[in-house]
């Protein structure tokens, strides 16, 4: 996979050098007689050197990504989506469709699955990979029936005492007339109260973009994890910029100021854990990403499933109750008179 993001340009240059060097080495190997002794070894060493350099450069680039750069990674078109994770993590999966009221929203998909031998309900936003799928999924921007299907699946999990795993990756809930007609506000609101009271563990993982109410509608749970380069925000940086800076070009500033990265949010106690990504981002190695996530999910579920459900619910209530209390770490006591 090519390095194709703006801030990856130096890496892309290195990548091109590597590919040229590879061709050189290959050509030389085909006709070793044409080269001086040692020349071939030197060429191979140079190639290895370049490769090592790329790894180092990638590592250092990704170690100090700006929030706006993370936004680019979180939105990468090759980033793994919910269906990828399901396919790569679950031993068995059966999709449950439909809200039993109106339709089957492809922007949120999920079903029952076995994950490391445990029956779970897993669901998440699906942005879609190719054009056809993206259209079908409305680019992951879910409609009311998506949230209602999600709640139906979670009630299903509750009935069968399966834990729920939600994967969040959405720019924002659908903004159109149909969404309003069928009550996108009501659908999200009912999920918030429904998830707060669901009598089974809920583990939420922000895998890409956690965009506003559309993200929150499936991410009320016992623990919120975020992938290393994912973001979670009250409004998209572009939207925030166009209001607070009166120009959407200030999106990078908004991304910085609003504290939307996994690192910012862990620091502020709003999430429980960061899930490391493969070098250069999840999209560079889907299988490794899925393996890491599977391990993370498993150890979290092991802990959550061991708790009596009443304790779980009380802790879940307290988790949210504490956000923005005057005693909260984020609201300095001084400013709350």
């Amino acid at each position: 996979m090519a390095y194709d993001l703006d801030f990856e340009r130096p890496l892309a240059v290195l990548e091109r050098q590597i590919s040229e060097q590879e061709k050189k080495v290959e050509g030389a190997q085909r006709r070793p007689d044409r080269h001086k002794p040692g020349e071939l070894d030197a060429m191979a060493a140079e190639l290895a050197n370049l490769r090592e350099k790329l790894i180092q450069e990638t590592r250092s680039t990704y170690a100090k990504l700006s929030p706006w750069e993370r936004v680019q990674v979180a939105r990468h078109k090759q980033r793994p989506y919910t269906r990828d994770y399901i396919k790569l993590m679950c031993e068995e999966f059966f999709e449950l469709r439909g809200d039993r009221h109106y339709g089957d929203d492809r922007a949120i998909q999920g079903g029952v699955a076995c994950l490391n031998g445990r029956a779970v309900v897993i669901l998440g936003h699906q942005k879609g990979r190719d054009t056809r799928e993206r259209m079908e999924c409305n680019f992951g921007m879910a409609h009311p029936e998506g949230y209602r299907k999600a709640m139906r699946l979670m009630r299903h999990a509750e009935r069968f005492h399966m834990p729920v795993i939600t994967l969040i990756d959405i720019a924002g809930a659908a903004i159109d007339l149909e969404a309003e007609e069928r009550g996108i506000s009501v659908a999200i609101a009912e999920n918030l109260i429904g998830m707060a009271q669901l009598r089974t563990p809920i583990l939420c993982v922000v895998t890409g973009e956690g965009g506003s109410g559309g993200a929150l509608g499936i991410s009320v749970g016992d623990r919120i994890l975020m992938l290393e380069h994912s973001i979670y925000t009250v409004a998209s940086p572009e939207a925030a910029a166009s209001i607070l800076w009166r120009d959407s070009a200030f999106a990078p500033n908004a991304a910085e100021t609003m504290k939307i990265t996994a690192q910012d949010l862990l620091e502020r106690g709003l999430i429980e854990e960061i899930v490391p990504e493969p070098l250069g981002g999840a999209h560079r190695d889907l299988a490794e990403m899925a393996a890491i996530l599977k391990d993370t999910i498993t150890h979290n579920l092991n802990e959550l499933c061991a708790l009596p459900v009443n304790e779980l619910l009380q802790a879940r209530y307290q988790r949210y109750r504490a956000i923005g209390e005057s005693s909260h770490a984020l609201a300095p006591a001084a400013s709350v008179s």
Partner: protein, 301 residues
Amino acid sequence: MKDETESALSNVNSNGAHPDGRVKALPQNLAVKCPNCREVLVGKDWEKNFHICSKCGYHFRLSAPERIELLLDEGTFEEFAADLTSGDPLSFVSRSQPYRTKLETERANTGLTEAVVVGRGQIEGMPLVIVVMDFRFIGGSMGTIVGEKITRAIETAADERLPLLICSASGGARMQEGLLSLMQMAKTSAALGHLADVGCPYISLLTDPTTGGVSASFAFLGDVILAEPGALIGFAGPRVIEQAIHQKLPKDTNTADFVRAHGMIDDIVHRRDLRAVLGQLLRIYGQCMEVVTVESSAANE
């Protein structure tokens, strides 16, 4: 979420009102101009008429103190949690304007400490907990303190087994507090779950405008949901939707009529009837509340 409302607002008020929804009184408050039909109304009549245009029925926005005066029995309001004021958790600055300064300006302009006022009061002699948002204060946006005050009001209702009334007027979450604001949606909703468990009725009154994160959380979780005539109600404002879909919307999109027609609210109530309707609801639910609290406390053991 804020953007939606701000756009929506410029939409609603394109004919004369101040963009933050406050109506400019003409000199000495002798007369006000209706932003809907442009009629010039005599100030005293307009005030007696619940701030409604006598010509077209347009419901002017009310400040939190005006709303409280309108709804509660005189002298029964006891505010609580008034001392909670927003900090600046992200040290937020945009366009060289610190959020902290913005808060101070809003406090000075409105005389309020935040975009919501909460307290105990009575309607027709029946006690309740009341929450009133004020759109003048940063568009009624919900930051941590708004969420906190509302949550405390919900918990007070639950603890004291009182009915709860929330009058919403908000453009959504407060961007300047980032994800903390979004989480207030979850916090208030979870608290409402607790209130439902103990069997206290929650009446939600949607006033102009109720959008974004407020509409997608507590505002639409009422046991009974009422709206004022003509109020803008929805997830997104019509302008934002039109920009997103590149199409004109039907004229009534996301009005009180629209959400009633789509089954999202119970009724639209004219402002002059509000007290009577609330009184009736408190009487009806009052008859079952004693039963409920006894039984539910037994069930919870």
